[in-house]
Symmetry: C3
Subunit: 290 residues, 3 copies
């Protein structure tokens, strides 16, 4: 009978939303995050020259969302570092990705089918983080809707929002762009997700939280898997956004699309963000750096 109850689809969202994230999902999150760090130009050199800086960057990639959310709510920014097992797991992943003999671990996890699974698992964690961030902020500020959106947003976006300072740690400084000026898909989706979860928490949305978590997870995982498989960075929101921005803010129609093309046409443009570099190019750079 218990098996039947688990199979009952009506219960599924609830069970899914209560499922523990540690260690499987968190492991996938750490692997994909540190993989993206290794794609960053120059990060392999930093890992050889200054392991401490490289480790710190890896920690920012893995726990940036907790650090930012703690700052936003006025807690200790390193509060999450009391979870020794999480830190150890992330450090082990960092070590394996950067220093494993023959680059074996990196080759395994960067192998596309494996990576697609990991990317999907990462989005499960991201959605849960957004929901937890909004809930946490709601607890502290009962009517602070904007605070709830901000905390959910930083929990979903993590290191991307402080990428300028993360790069500074590695000796790179690109002030002409940042994640707010040129939002990537995960950052945008985190913002919309944070708004949805805030509406749900304020009971303006007629769905249960577990259903919202399930639906948003499915959307995020599907989008990211498709985008990763296609090496694409087009956003599913592009069309709607383009029209809304045109109506509300007088932005030129299809603006972001055009911007991308311009960036592609100007190959030495310093404005290129990591999100505008195709994954293929990034991988090639990472390989060359080995």
């Amino acid at each position: 009978m218990d098996v039947l109850a688990v199979l009952n689809l009506g219960e599924f969202p609830h069970i899914f939303s209560k499922m523990g994230m540690f260690p499987v999902f968190d492991l996938a999150y750490y692997i994909v995050s540190i993989l993206y760090l290794k794609y960053e130009p120059g990060s392999v050199e930093v890992s050889r020259k200054s392991p401490v800086a490289s480790w710190l960057c890896a920690m920012l990639y893995c726990f940036g969302s907790y650090i930012l959310a703690d700052i936003m709510l006025g807690s200790s920014p390193i509060d999450y570092f009391q979870h020794n097992s999480h830190i150890l797991l992330a450090s082990a992943v960092w070590y394996l990705i950067f220093y494993c003999p023959l680059n074996l671990f990196y080759k395994c996890v960067a192998f596309l089918p494996v990576k697609l699974v990991l990317v999907a698992l990462k989005e499960v964690v991201r959605t849960r983080k957004i929901a937890a961030g909004v809930h946490h902020a709601h607890h502290a500020y009962h009517h602070g809707f904007l605070i709830m959106v901000i905390v959910g947003y930083v929990k979903g976006s993590g290191v991307a929002l402080i990428s300028n300072f993360e790069q500074l740690l590695r000796g790179v400084w690109r002030p002409d762009t940042n994640e707010i000026l040129n939002m990537s898909f995960p950052t945008k989706a985190s913002l919309y997700g944070a708004i949805l979860f805030t509406l749900q928490e304020a009971q303006y949305l007629p769905v249960s939280k577990s259903t919202l978590i399930l639906v948003f997870t499915l959307f995020m995982a599907t989008s990211k898997v498709v985008m990763t498989a296609r090496h694409s960075h087009g956003s599913p929101f592009a069309l709607i956004e383009s029209w809304v921005c045109h109506l509300l803010f007088g932005s030129p129609l299809g603006g972001s699309e055009e911007d991308h093309h311009h960036a592609a046409a100007a190959p030495s443009s310093p404005l290129k963000t990591k999100e505008e570099l195709s994954e293929g190019a990034r991988k090639r750079k990472a390989k060359k750096a080995e």
Copy 2:
């Protein structure tokens, strides 16, 4: 009889210092602050390209003082964002100034007579913020005179103190100058005001707080209105400061004056701060950007 009591000048400082700031005075504060944001070169382009970044900058301009003071006292930096009505009002002002059809709202509030009134009202809010900041810090640190000065100072200066990082949000980076190296008049006045209010709070100044608020407000409003009307950035403190700095710190006499002239002589100097650009030039730039 009540009317008479209100007219009674002895009571006036007390009534003035208890007067509510929301919504009239706060509205003026938001309008003038976001007007200054629109004067910044490039801010109109940012508002077209990334409304989120533009809105964030506007919030920093309006609530930077609260954010900084909260950081200084170890609270949540976004604590003030729980006041939904203030945020909504500031967001509406931001929308009207940047996206109003025909630029109508901007033209109205940038019309000199209107602007002079708004500037005067803004200084009322600034003085109250300094007094509140000092009082708040005094509550937390009874003998922390320096903490009281610092918190009052950041409450008065607001976004100016973090202008480097506010600019970074818009993709601009000018590391060679900052508000501490080249203090503008409002920043300097906030510092002196914070010192005065701290002395008053520590009972070294033989005046009541309400009188001090009234006098300081009158001084600030008069100075800023005159400076705005004359498009001038000369500070009323210049002469005294020049002598005191010469005696205490061996600075060359009339140094700051000369620096201004040098900056004016070198038109392409990257050291030019926004405060050194005349308001006229800034307006022209803002207009061109439309």
Copy 3:
């Protein structure tokens, strides 16, 4: 009999670890710290042009460790500024070093024998700060070993870790390097010290805290005095580190040594940190700036 008890070596570590730091040791700490600030290129000009910026930098040099540790533990970053006597003492030192007639005070404290004594006293304070930081973090996070290391580390390193932002305050921006990428000897020693004190606090190290304080102080004072006397920046850890990094992280053997030589060979390299400039060169620069 009391004198005998004091002379008893078994009690000495305990007495040494309870000895008050204010005012003698703290004074030495402030003098050496602000001396290093004066060695920084451009700092004398800043002290003439903007005494407020210069004073703020001096405070960061003296109290950066407290500010950083307070931020890490989620307290008010200016919490330490409630100790008016410490602030006054540090401000007096700042004034004397930068503005004393005939540069008399600077010449006295920069005189090598005097400086060696002051440097030794400074290391006494540093060790006590690391121990106090670890202890404080242990109190807040009983099993947060990493948090203990981090807080001890920032307490020992102080302003060095935020040198990029301290420089920004003076209008200098060198993003291509930072203290994490190119650790100087005191920063490295603080990290190792923080690890040792954390192990001791977690009772993995079979020594008493007072003994550890005494031994670590002796090691730090000796090392720094020898290095200052020889104008050297070679680290006593270099050989071990080089081998450990080679084995663990695949860094080229003797890497840091080589890097130093390369930096020395490329005289206009922008990567040169303040720690790579010999003290002699820095002094000469400071003198020229007078």
